[in-house]
Structure formats: structure tokens, C-alpha cells
């Protein structure tokens, strides 16, 4: 018989903006869970986060990391890139979603709160526009629309080798 460890109650959940190093260290155990749940083409494309490129973006002020912690334990995150759009260079900083994930048991309101927190940060940082996406198999369209986002693109992928 497998012993199941009882889940501790959800404690004090906080949202914060954190530096790459702190988030990356704590998020390492979560990345495989995130990857297994959401990444496509897992047979061909393995999880391999490029920490040095994230560092470069952070040094340029082009990285924003929002975290969700339960009594200090990392339970979710939202990573975005902040940079001008190549087509609209004079339009100011745009926020591009890189990735986000939340432990399943926290998907009872904390996902919405994380998005509200991230939008607040983007506004505080002076972003002009935000780009947000979700997987078709985990469709957040209704929530995004409630938050005021409008559907603008369909995004397709194809494995080439």
C-alpha cells in the first residue's frame, strides 16, 4: 500500500515580484511538473531552460517574474518579457507572456489573483500593451475576457524534424 502524505492546509498566500535567481532556484522542482502538464511535442523537445538568456534579459530590464508563495513555499509563477514591439518601436514597452503555472490545488482563485497582480505590475512598469496566451488544451479564454483581454490571434505550431 502506498502511504499518502496528507496535504497541509493552504496558508498565507502572497504575490510578489522576485529576481531571477531566487525564483529560478525555488522553481526548479516545479519546472518538470509544468512541462509534463503543458508542453507539446515532449518526445522531440526536452525541457531545458536557458538560464543564461534569462539572465541577459534580466540585466536588460526586460524580464518580469511574479511569484505565488504559500507561507514562503513557491507554488506558482508568471514570467513575462518587457520590451518594445519590433513593429511599433515608438509605442513603448509591451509585455509578452513567456510562461505561467500554478500548482493544481491552488487553482481556486489564485490563478485569477496572479493575473490581476501581474497586470498591476505591468501597469506600474509603464507597459503599453500586454500579450497573453494559453494552451488550447487548457483554455482560459473566459477568464482572460473577464479580465478585459480580447482574442486577437490564433497561434499554430508544427514540428519540423
Amino acid at each position: 500500500m502506498i502511504a499518502v502524505e496528507p496535504q497541509k492546509a493552504i496558508g498565507r498566500v502572497t504575490f510578489a515580484t522576485e529576481p531571477l535567481a531566487k525564483w529560478f532556484f525555488d522553481a526548479r522542482p516545479l519546472f518538470p511538473l509544468h512541462y509534463e502538464e503543458l508542453a507539446m511535442n515532449q518526445d522531440a523537445i526536452k525541457l531545458d531552460l536557458d538560464a543564461s538568456r534569462y539572465e541577459e534579459l534580466e540585466e536588460k530590464g526586460a524580464l518580469h517574474i511574479a511569484t505565488v508563495r504559500d507561507n514562503g513555499e513557491l507554488v506558482g509563477y508568471f514570467v513575462s518579457f518587457l520590451m518594445p514591439h519590433l513593429h511599433y518601436a515608438s509605442a513603448g514597452t509591451m509585455a509578452y507572456t513567456d510562461m505561467y503555472w500554478l500548482k493544481p490545488r491552488y487553482r481556486t482563485g489564485y490563478g485569477a489573483k496572479l493575473l490581476l497582480y501581474v497586470e498591476h505590475c505591468w501597469r506600474q512598469l509603464g507597459c503599453t500593451k500586454a500579450y497573453l496566451s494559453c494552451k488550447v488544451k487548457q483554455d482560459h479564454t473566459a477568464m482572460f475576457k473577464l479580465l478585459g483581454f480580447e482574442l486577437s490571434d490564433f497561434f499554430f505550431v508544427k514540428l519540423l524534424r
Binding site: 482563485g109 485569477a112 490581476l116
Partner: protein
Amino acid sequence: METHYPGSLLEFLEGELCAKLTPETRFASVVEDSLSFLQLMLDVREKFGPISNEQLTSIETVGDLLRHYELAEVT
């Protein structure tokens, strides 16, 4: 503060969530998912008055929300 709902905030929440609530009840324990939480909070905002997105992120319990609107009424 303009209130469009004839009952109290607590009554409204209990009706929406079909549950008996106390100030200690955590929304995470009674809402189905993040979408439900967000919809509920937006309905609360529409019926009971302003609450910023930033303030919403710190609403953990029914009591947190009740306190927000009690304070809003005083000021």
C-alpha cells in the same frame, strides 16, 4: 457608495456560492476554480462598489471582503 443589491454582501455571497459562510471562510475552499472566483469578485464590484484589482489579490477570506466594504462605507 452605491449599492444595487437589496441584501447584504454576506447574503449575496451565500446565494452565489450556495454555501453557509462565516468571516473565516476562505474563498479558495468554496469556489470551483479561478474563473468562478473572478466572476464572483467582478459581480461583487458591480453590485457593492469599487475594489481595485490590487486589493482583490489580497482578498483571502469572506471577512477580508466584508472589511473592505465596511471601510469603504465609513470613508
